[in-house]
């Protein structure tokens, strides 16, 4: 009983500390309720695919796992990705099996060149300065939503190992010449 009380207190505290732009389920026992996100953002893109980033903080004393994500209609498909070295020694991105783990009491940063939330089959341009509403789902089926503003960004042009429909991740007319 004492442990449950401590957990509830801890959860209540972290909800209070949740970063602006994010909201969690009211039930304090869920994974979502122990996680907050700081400085979320999305790379602006005209079409095809792009990615969302940010720092997730887990206040609980056990690991939590993000298993999937959705947007408010901007992306036809959303996947959780990681960067890894393929058999040719090239850095590629691929779906992260088992989801993205935010360790107990620690943070996990999604950033260009690392884990990220991949937004695919964009239904409309993601313009710089626009907000994208992202919802992540945890392994206990609880969800957390946050607002990620879009920014022009030249990086995050990684090759997608699994994708054959690699669209143009770059907004505007800039041609980086590395698209298949």
């Amino acid at each position: 009983m004492k442990r449950l009380t401590t957990l509830l207190l801890l959860a209540a505290t972290t909800v209070g500390l949740t970063a602006c732009g994010s909201s969690s389920d009211a039930d304090p026992a869920t994974e979502a309720s122990t996680v907050s996100v700081q400085d979320p953002w999305v790379k602006a893109a005209d079409s095809g695919m792009t990615a969302a980033f940010g720092t997730f903080r887990n206040a609980a004393d056990h690991d939590v796992t993000i298993v999937s994500a959705t947007t408010d209609g901007v992306a036809g498909r959303v996947e959780l990705h990681e960067m890894a070295t393929d058999e040719d020694g090239q850095m590629v991105m691929r779906q992260k099996k088992g989801g993205i783990v935010v360790p107990a009491g620690k943070t996990h940063t999604l950033e260009p060149g690392g884990d990220h939330i991949m937004l695919m089959d964009l239904t409309r341009p993601v313009e710089p300065g626009q907000d994208v509403r992202v919802t992540v789902r945890f392994s206990d089926d609880s969800t957390m939503s946050f607002t990620a503003p879009a920014r022009s960004f030249a990086g995050a042009e990684e090759d997608y190992e699994g994708g054959t429909d690699h669209g143009d991740m770059e907004h505007g007319d800039m041609d980086h010449g590395d698209h298949g």
Binding site: E127, P128, Q130, S152, G172
Partner: protein, 398 residues
Amino acid sequence: MGEPRRGLSRRALLTTGSVGAAGAVVGAAGASAVAREAPAADPGTRTVAFRGAHQAGVVTPPQDHGVLVAYDLVEGADADALRRLFAIWTDDVARLTAGRAGLADTEPELALRPSGLTVTLAVGPGAVEAAGVDVPSWLGPLPAFSVDRLEDRWSGGDLLLQICSDDELVVSHALRLLTKEARTFATVRWVQRGFRGPLGRDRTPRNLMGQVDGTANPRPADHDALVWRSPTTTPDGPRWLDGGTTMVVRRIRMELDTWDEIDRTARERTIGRRLDDGRPLTGGRLEDDPDLDAVDANGLEVIDPFAHVRRARTDDRRQRILRRPYNYDDPPPPGELTDAGLVFVSFQADLERQFVPLQRRLAELDLLNQWTTPIGSAVFAVLPGARRGEQLGQSLLT
């Protein structure tokens, strides 16, 4: 969006007092952005509050380095585009001035020592038009002055950022980040970099002609009456600019190579002030007004009829402006020794009442005109400050 609140250090208090005495700019009043010095000796951690009724970088004591960058909006940029751009810039400026990395900052370490960084956003006529708002009559090219030799490459612009810090690396980082984030909205029109010497014990900034510069600036107590727009200072509006001000940027080339040809006495006569300590030729202290009626033993005026101080001075106290210039010293073109001068920056509530009469007097007859040439000119409206939860440009875009 936390603003570091630190107590004023003893050094900051001393600085404030003496700068005020020298007549330079100090933001020590009311809702103005106030410089807060870290208690530690590390000047790199000094921050200047971004949030407030007025933007920082206007009455803020000038930092050692500054860059002015003017942008042209891309074709088709509308109110929605401006709203998004200003949201991005508001967020990044709030972070950078607090010593935090921008949201998508690729060099986050360069943001950690802001060294008094301020970023000031102003709009030209093109941006006001894009917002779908009537352009004030004064927001455009200044009246043509006879001394002007203006070049397009230093003139005009739809948007302007003034970025100032005591650390030049910080200025460059902020300039690059804010320009990158704006790339889908606007292109760079011109960039003017400037510097000021760290003030010596006498707190007297000097320009590259060796002159004490900016001694006649309004005191902080006069800022509400002379700098900030309000229903009192500018009753005719527009109201979206209340809390803001008007900004003149003039690139003034100094003909230092011909200035070298005249002796010290003639130089002092040109200005009407002593070169060594900036005091008027008629005596008194640095901050005293020159005695324009004084005559010498021969009955000649001590202050030349065309001396800069006489031409610049006005009996109408409401006509004064707040000068915040930076020096520039660029590589000279082939065959010349120097390409240097002043990035003249002034702020005044009412451009037509305060700046234009002054500039006209100087353009007509000012001995200094022989050695100075305006080669660039632009007028901007400095938007009001963004309070907590607000975005820059909000009043223009509602």
